[in-house]
């Protein structure tokens, strides 16, 4: 079950936050901003921490065909805790989508793949309802009602 969605612009600033269910604590606007900035930084550091043994041998995991190839080859992809899991999808333009869900059951890698599919659908909605809105300024906070509604619909349909 999906708890909330965050969208970060290229510099790591929070441009969209939507709580879709209320399983988790409500954070203030400030705390959301801090969370976004932290994830942006941790994303890059996780890439730097790749063990040397992996760099030598890495077999890329087979990716699902026909959807946006994930440019995220070594940055942070997922976080597992007792109460929630968080999945991160980064586009080629540097925009990050964070999905907070219930904790993963079973195979962590397949949970990650499912989340990635949802995030790709959300990326398509972003490209449609945010990018094509002529009054939306790039990198600015997203205040588009249509986008909110479409996201809520997508999540309900899952």
């Amino acid at each position: 079950m999906i708890q909330s969605l965050f969208i970060l612009n290229r510099s790591g600033g929070l441009i969209y936050q939507h709580d879709l269910n209320d399983g988790l604590n409500k954070l203030s606007a400030n705390e959301h901003l801090i969370l976004a900035g932290t994830i942006h930084g941790v994303f890059a550091i996780a890439s730097k921490l790749t063990p040397t043994a992996v760099k030598v041998s890495a077999q890329p995991r087979a990716q699902s065909q026909g959807s946006a190839v994930n440019g995220n080859t070594s940055g942070l992809k997922s976080i597992e805790t007792d109460k929630f899991s968080m999945y991160i999808f980064q586009t080629l333009t540097g925009v990050k989508f964070l999905l907070v869900t219930d904790p993963a059951q079973g195979d962590l890698n397949s949970g990650c793949d499912t989340a990635e599919n949802v995030l790709r659908k959300i990326y398509a909605l972003y490209a449609d309802y945010v990018m094509k809105n002529p009054f939306y300024e790039i990198d600015m906070p997203i205040r588009v009602d249509l986008f909110d509604r479409k996201i809520a619909e997508l999540v309900k349909a899952l």
């Binding site: 604590n25 550091i45 890439s47 921490l49 040397t52 080859t73 976080i79 805790t81 007792d82 890698n109």
Partner: protein, 151 residues
């Protein structure tokens, strides 16, 4: 299941032990790698920063009055990091490949059976480490290698 490295951070946020296994690909050779290497100091600090930040996020978002939320692991497309924090503030972290799903039991084992037995209960080994000093207890190192190292 391939384990790349193992790190311990004390409650003063210092890295007190770091072990890296580099011969993971070639099982015929003796396992080698680095123990407490100086070059890993920067990586240790970065790793601690990541673990600390993510643990705080886990607490902020997931804590309930009944139970505290704990960070279990995080993953990139190349590796997974498993985390365990003891109530005394000791933090253990293992970097492994993506196939490994859950090393919580192993982390708890290392803590209770190896660290507590041989460091805490050993009157001659320090428990409160000064910044910069590391665990050099040979028995500890050997047992960790045997438990976590390539079989």
């Amino acid at each position: 299941m391939t384990i790349f490295s193992f790190w311990i951070f004390d409650r003063h946020c210092n890295c007190i032990y770091s072990r890296e296994w580099t011969q993971v690909l070639n099982p015929a050779t003796e396992s080698s790698g680095t123990i407490n290497a100086k070059a890993n100091e920067d990586n240790a600090k970065l790793l601690f920063g990541v673990l600390f930040s993510l643990r705080n996020i886990a607490r902020k978002v997931g804590d309930t009055p009944e139970q505290e939320n704990t960070l279990n692991s995080f993953a990139t497309a190349k590796y997974r990091a498993h985390f365990y924090e003891s109530p005394s503030g000791l933090r253990l972290c293992i970097l492994s490949d993506l196939e490994t799903q859950n090393l919580q039991t192993q982390l708890r084992d290392v803590y209770s059976n190896i660290y507590v037995e041989h460091i805490v209960k050993n009157p001659l080994s320090p428990v409160d480490f000064k910044p910069g000093s590391k665990i050099t207890n040979q028995r500890f190192i050997r047992l960790v290698d045997r438990y976590l190292g390539p079989q």
